[in-house]
Amino acid sequence: MAERERSHARPRRALFVPRVQVMTADDVRRAVVRMAHEIAERNRGLHDVVLVGLQTGGVPLAERIALTLAESEGLELPVGTLDVAFYRDDIGLRPVLPEATTDISFDLTGTTVVLVDDVLFTGRTIRAALNALGEYGRAQAVQLAVMVDRGHRELPIRPDYVGKNLPTSRDEMVDVSEDGVSLGELVER
C-alpha cells in the first residue's frame, strides 16, 4: 500500500445548512407515537412483527417506535439494523461505503418486517433494502415506515406509515434528528 496517493483520500464533506424547521422535536415525538399506533392497528396483535431500521437514520426511529409499542401494547418487538451499501445500484458511480454493520439476529422467514427509515426520496435505498432483507429469510410481508416522505420517487415504492409528507425540490436536503426535521441545503465545505 506504499503506492497509494494521499492527497485526495478524504473528500470534502458537505455541510448541511438548515433553512427552515418543518417539524419540532414534539412534532417528531407525536408522529412516532401515531406511526407506532398505526403499525399496531394494521398488524393486529403485532404477531411476528419485527422492526428493521436502515443505517443510520432509520435506526433511532425504529428504536423509538419499538419503545412506544412496548409502552402501549406491552410487547417488545425485535429490532434489527440493516446497512444496504452492498446492494445499491450506484456502486461504482459514486462513493459508496457501509455506514455501519447490519445486525439482524433473528430469522425473518414468516415475519412481517417493518422497514424504518428517516427520509424517503427516490426509493432506491428501499429497493436495496428489499434485496438485502432477502438474505435473512423470506418475510411474509414487508411494510415501510418513514418519518419524512419528500417525493421524487424513481421506483414504484410507497410508504405504509408516514410521519410527514414534505414537498421538496430535488436539490434541497432534509435532516431528521431528535430535535426535529429541517429543510435546508448542502454546502461544500
Partner: protein, 353 residues
C-alpha cells in the same frame, strides 16, 4: 502501506466489519461488485493469499480470472508489461499481483490506464493486506470498534523471526507504527536487514528479554525459499533462540496475542501446542483476511465513477487529481435525501491498496 494514515486504516477496518457480518450469513454473498472482473496474477507461489483474494472477489459477485505463471504466456517469453497490457485490453477492472521482485505492482500501475492494481506481496518489500488483517485481528481481540483502535496507542508489539526477507514485517511495521504502537524486532543479526536506518523500531537479539513486556507477538516464518536457512546455523538453534516454544509462551503476560501470517512451520518458529492457546489468533487471521480483502476490493472498485480512474503511482506527492474524474456530486448523491448518507469518509479512492 507506509502511506496509510491511522484514519485510513481505521476506515478499511470499519468496512471490513461489514464484510465480517456478510461472512456470518447463511448466504455470504453480496452483489456489490457484480459485473466487475478481477484477475489474480501470482508470479510467485501462494495458496492462502490467492484463495483469500479469489474468494473475497467471488463473495462480492465479481468474476475472477486466475493467471498462474506456469500456464500463461509468460512461459512463452511474453514480458510482464505485455501480459499486463493484455489483461487490461480484455477489460479487467483490477489485477491482484504477487511477484518475487519488489516494486512490481507499483511499476504495473504506470502501465495501466483503468485497471486497479492490488499488491498481494512483492519480494521483500510489502504485503499490505496481510498487515491490515493482522491489525483487524488485534482490533477484534480488543473488542472491535473505535475503542479498540485507541488501544493501539502505545501497544508493545514484537515481530519475531526473519525480518530480512519478510515483506509482511515491513508492512506490519508501517501499520502498527501508524496506529501508535511500539514495534520491537526480535531476530538474530543475520536475519535483520543490512540497515535499519529510518525504521521506527527497536531491535533486540534476545527474545526472552522482551517476553514479559509485550502485548502482541507476531511471528514470521523462516523463509527457506529465500535462503534464510543459510542465515542461521541450524533450525534447532534458531528455535532455541527465537522460536515461541511452550516454555516461552508460558512466560508471556496474560492476554498476550500471538499472530502468525502463515504458512507456519510447527516446531521451528512456533511450538505446536502454542497454536492452541487462547491468545493464538492464527485461524482468526485467515478468517479476517477474507473480510479485509473484500473491504480493499470494495474500496477500490466500489468507489468513484465508472470506468475506474487511473490508479496511483508510487511516491507522487502532488495529485493528478484531475485524471480521477469529477468529485462526486454530493447533492445528487444522497438518494434518500438525508444528509448522513452522502459520500463516505474514504470518498474517491482508486489506486493501489
Amino acid at each position: 502501506m507506509e502511506d496509510l494514515t491511522a484514519a485510513d486504516i481505521a476506515e478499511i477496518l470499519e468496512v471490513s466489519d461489514s464484510f465480517v457480518e456478510v461472512g456470518r450469513r447463511a448466504n455470504p454473498k453480496v452483489p456489490s461488485l457484480r459485473g466487475r472482473t478481477v484477475a489474480t496474477l501470482f508470479l510467485e507461489d501462494s495458496t492462502r493469499t490467492r484463495m483469500s483474494f479469489e474468494t473475497a472477489a467471488k463473495r462480492m459477485s465479481a468474476d475472477v480470472l486466475s493467471f498462474a505463471a506456469g500456464s500463461s504466456s509468460i512461459k512463452k517469453g511474453e514480458s510482464l508489461r505485455d501480459t499486463i497490457e493484455t489483461i487490461e485490453a480484455i477489460g479487467i477492472d483490477a489485477v491482484i499481483v504477487r511477484h518475487a521482485s519488489a516494486g512490481v505492482p507499483a511499476q504495473i500501475t504506470k502501465w495501466v490506464e483503468h485497471c486497479s492494481v492490488i499488491n498481494a506481496g512483492d519480494g521483500w518489500h510489502q504485503h499490505p493486506t496481510q498487515a491490515l488483517l493482522d491489525l483487524y485481528t488485534v482490533r477484534e481481540a480488543f473488542g472491535g470498534g473505535a475503542k479498540a483502535m485507541e488501544r493501539f496507542d502505545g501497544l508493545k508489539v514484537a515481530i519475531v523471526g526473519d525480518i530480512r526477507h519478510s515483506r509482511v514485517a515491513r508492512s506490519q511495521i508501517a501499520g502498527y507504527t501508524a496506529l501508535g504502537a511500539k514495534v520491537t524486532l526480535v531476530a538474530p543479526a543475520t536475519l535483520l536487514p543490512p540497515s535499519l536506518e529510518g525504521w521506527p523500531v527497536e531491535v533486540t537479539h534476545d527474545f526472552d528479554d522482551v517476553l514479559e513486556r509485550v502485548d502482541v507477538v507476531s511471528l514470521l516464518r523462516l523463509q527457506a525459499e529465500r535462503g534464510s536457512g543459510a542465515f542461521v546455523p541450524t533450525l534447532r538453534e534458531y528455535t532455541s533462540g527465537f522460536g515461541l516454544t511452550t516454555s516461552r509462551a508460558a512466560r508471556l503476560k496474560e492476554g498476550t496475542l500471538i499472530l502468525h501470517p502463515g504458512p507456519m512451520v510447527r516446531g521451528v518458529e512456533i511450538a505446536s501446542d502454542v497454536t492452541d492457546l487462547p491468545g493464538a489468533l492464527i485461524t482468526a487471521q485467515v478468517r479476517n483476511g477474507l473480510a479485509v480483502r473484500m473491504a480493499v476490493l470494495f474500496l477500490m472498485l466500489g468507489q468513484g465513477s465508472r470506468p475506474p480512474v487511473r490508479p496511483d503511482t508510487p511516491g507522487r506527492t502532488n495529485g493528478d487529481d484531475g485524471a480521477r474524474g469529477a468529485e462526486p456530486d454530493v447533492s445528487a448523491a444522497g438518494d434518500d435525501g438525508a444528509i448522513d448518507r452522502d459520500g463516505g469518509p474514504m470518498g474517491q479512492q482508486g489506486g493501489e491498496a
